[in-house]
């Protein structure tokens, strides 16, 4: 039984040409995560389309428009389980006009799979995907050199891709990069070890996903507890109960800890930590709990409980790497709603410092209009302080979104520098 098994979320970015859909289909099929009726459905479709054999890529078909056009438009989530772990795949489209979907899929991922066609090596799309993975600080990157069957399973071709990748990625902040030569079409090194590449000593993809160390992916140092809501039952048995409900964003909180409530600055001690009817000694990220304090102080949604000896910054001016998600361009005069943990304030984009050309990764300082899919560094001013950490140190307290009050749409996602 999967009792102590962890959940690993990974993202795959790419287009049909890279073999992304085939790879996902292969992972699901070879790990026996596909049901007979699903297999039957795609076997029929494969026949109708005149394909030889079963086209595994059809497993990832989604909405009607996507089927008709043979593309992925939006993020789709897929699931499979092995005796070692449960996996959530955020399957995202790879074209430049879907950068926003890649960013979305990457935001919660522990690992990213980047597919490179062994025949073509590192191309612009590879660079873009790697850049997004590093920008979103995905802790583990697995570069799958695919279509090895089309280069005669040649070690030389594989090494060439590794060299190309390392050359351009040296400037990026990816902590853990691995390379695996695969053929998604034939199943080499996906679930089962390939018999055609004896020169490769490493593990197949699935084994890699099953064993990557992910316990350290969440910040366990800085205790941050954004308050979601206050629980006041006012029932017979719990007349004086006042619990602060939330999910530990990072770090560990223990009963008896000296805490400070931000932004008010009131201090107290943790009296109890509860999960339903269980009393806990400690709570760590990403646990959802409720906390009571020794003192009766005024706390509401948007406040953050932290350890007194380790506080985040409370600031109104932040520098952010911003990915624009909406087809309405950014307007420097608009007041946006900024959402950060459970906190919500108004904000304006004060200055656009530079914009990335996300194909060449060059900084642009001339044309500074922010349009959909643009990634830029900006300065934002908020009406009231946000309790922030840098995104690099803390994904949960270093991320923001902007909402346009005229449409209520989420228009931008930002990583605090």
């Amino acid at each position: 039984m999967l009792d102590n098994n962890q959940l690993l979320r990974f993202t795959t970015a790419g287009s049909v040409d890279d073999g992304k859909s085939t790879l996902i289909g292969r992972l699901l099929y070879d790990s026996k995560s596909i049901f007979e009726d699903q297999l039957e459905a795609i076997t029929n479709t494969s026949k109708k389309k005149g394909h030889d054999g079963v086209d595994l890529a059809l497993f990832t078909d989604g909405l009607r428009d996507e089927r008709e056009q043979g593309i992925t438009i939006d993020v789709a989530y897929r699931y499979f389980t092995t005796p070692k772990r449960k996996f959530i795949i955020a399957d995202t489209p790879g074209h430049i006009q879907y950068t926003r979907n890649m960013v979305t899929g990457a935001s919660t991922a522990n690992a990213a799979i980047i597919l490179v066609d062994a025949r073509h090596g590192v191309i612009e799309q590879t660079k873009r995907h790697s850049f997004i993975a590093s920008l979103l600080q995905i802790p583990h990157v697995i570069v799958c050199v695919n279509k090895m069957d089309l280069v005669d399973y040649s070690e030389e071709a594989y090494n060439k891709v590794i060299n190309q990748f390392e050359e351009f990625s040296s400037k990026m902040l990816v902590k853990d990069v691995r390379f695996i030569p695969i053929s998604a079409l034939n199943g080499d090194n996906v679930v089962n070890r390939s018999t055609k590449m004896d020169w490769y000593q490493g593990a197949p993809l699935l084994h890699t996903l099953e064993t990557i160390h992910i316990s350290s992916d969440i910040n366990k140092i800085d205790a941050r507890f954004p308050v979601q809501t206050v629980l006041r039952p006012q029932s017979e048995n719990h007349r004086d109960y006042r619990g602060y409900a939330g999910r530990v964003a990072s770090g560990i909180l223990r009963v008896g800890d000296d805490i400070t409530v931000m932004p008010s600055g009131f201090t107290s001690k943790i009296k109890s930590i509860n999960l339903f009817d269980k009393e806990l000694e400690e709570a760590y990220a990403p646990m959802s709990v409720s906390i009571t304090l020794e003192d009766d102080i005024d706390i509401s949604r948007g406040d953050m409980i932290v350890r007194t000896n380790n506080k985040p910054e409370a600031v109104q001016d932040i520098e952010v790497m911003l990915c624009w998600l909406n087809n309405k361009s950014a307007n420097p005069r608009t007041k946006y709603t900024i959402k950060h943990t459970s906190n919500e304030q108004k904000a304006i984009i004060k200055e656009i410092v530079y914009k990335f050309n996300i194909n060449t990764l060059e900084r642009i300082t001339t044309d500074l209009e922010i349009n959909m899919n643009d990634i830029s560094k900006v300065k934002i001013r908020t009406t009231k302080p946000l309790m922030i950490d840098s995104y690099r140190e803390n994904r949960a307290t270093g991320s923001i979104i902007l909402v346009d009050d005229a449409t209520n749409e989420t228009v931008a996602a930002g990583m605090i520098v």
């Binding site: 999967l2 009792d3 102590n4 098994n5 962890q6 959940l7 049901f35 007979e36 009726d37 699903q38 078909d61 989604g62 909405l63 009607r64 428009d65 089927r67 438009i73 939006d74 993020v75 789709a76 897929r78 699931y79 389980t81 772990r85 449960k86 960013v103 979305t104 919660t108 992910i214 316990s215 809501t229 629980l231 006041r232 039952p233 029932s235 048995n237 719990h238 619990g243 409900a245 999910r247 339903f276 009817d277 990403p286 646990m287 959802s288 949604r301 998600l325 709603t337 959402k339 950060h340 943990t341 994904r395 949960a396 991320s399 923001i400 979104i401 009050d405 209520n408 749409e409 989420t410």
Partner: protein, 301 residues
């Protein structure tokens, strides 16, 4: 040293509790859509955990097609009493009687699609701004694209190509008057996760999920239960079988499977060996490749 990571069930639980609290904090008048099926029971159970020691702060809303398993209705009423929550019922029968919807004709007629009108009516009359559902992304390909917080326009419609991006754990439930949201706290759970969790927490579920003797007829590759609504075809024959249901919907369209699994442990074991998807026994999804997507666009669960 103790470990500082959660196992996958605890992580899914924590995520669902987070979503439920976010719904409570961001909306004025949320409800839980309660069908009496295992997924909505699970959501209700998670809501109890999320707000304990306070009561579940959401009413349960049941869209009643009139074609129910009596066991489901009994279970619903028991849960209302046990948790001390309010029940809102939207009745498909009333909508038919009022002439707002017309019953489907023919042998495979169901009231499945008719639920859309009743659901949207109930949402509107009760001024619901967020309906929490037990939908899961692993169920069906259109559901694989759902957000945790899913926007519906003022006609209750879903626009799958124009969904709000959802990043990290920041959820945007802002909406205009007349629009509403659907929230799916167990989006990331699979059928197997649901059963493993129900088993671990020993959650009460309707007896229909356990193997039992029942009068059934073989139709569209599954055992359809005998009921007052069943119209027998010439070649069909009612037999008694030991079956259980893998999902619960209308009594007219929910097929059972032959099974001896009469405990949660046996059910979980049986499900882990299943080679068919759970909705494979639902005739409503067999109509076309985009049957679910089409219904969802109009406002279905």
């Amino acid at each position: 040293m103790s470990k500082y990571y959660l196992n996958y069930l605890d992580e899914l639980e924590s995520e669902a509790i987070f979503i439920l609290r976010e719904v409570w904090a961001q909306f004025q008048n949320p409800v839980i859509l309660f069908s009496g099926g295992k997924d909505s029971i699970l959501v209700t159970h998670l809501a109890k955990k999320a707000f304990y020691p306070a009561k579940i702060p959401f009413p349960l809303m049941h869209v009643d097609t009139g074609h129910n398993f009596p066991e489901t209705i009994q279970f619903r009423d028991d849960i209302i009493k046990e948790f001390g929550v309010e029940l809102i019922v939207g009745s498909v029968q009333e909508a038919i009687d009022d002439g707002r919807v017309a019953e489907e004709k023919g042998k495979s007629a169901t009231r499945n699609a008719l639920q859309i009108t009743t659901l949207l009516d109930a949402i509107e009359t009760n001024k619901v701004d967020c309906a929490i559902g037990g939908g899961r992304r692993d169920e069906e390909k259109a559901r694989a694209k759902e957000r945790f917080f899913s926007h519906r326009d003022d006609f209750g419609q879903w626009d799958p190509k124009n969904q709000r991006p959802e990043l990290w754990n920041i959820f945007n439930g802002k909406h205009f008057q007349g629009e509403h949201f659907r929230a799916f706290p167990i989006s990331n759970w699979t059928e197997m996760d649901v059963w493993n969790y129900i088993k671990r927490e020993n959650i009460a579920i309707p007896s229909l999920y356990y193997a039992h003797e029942r009068e059934v007829v073989w139709r569209q590759d599954s055992w359809i239960p005998n009921s007052e609504f069943l119209v027998l075809e010439d070649h069909e024959e009612i037999v008694t079988k030991k079956i259980r249901f893998r999902t619960l919907g209308d009594i007219t369209i929910t097929g059972g499977i032959e099974s001896d699994a009469d405990t949660l442990a046996k059910i979980a074991e049986e499900v882990s060996g299943m080679r068919q998807t759970e909705r494979g026994n639902r005739t409503d999804d067999k109509r076309s490749e985009s049957a679910m997507e089409d219904r969802k666009r109009q406002g279905y669960f």
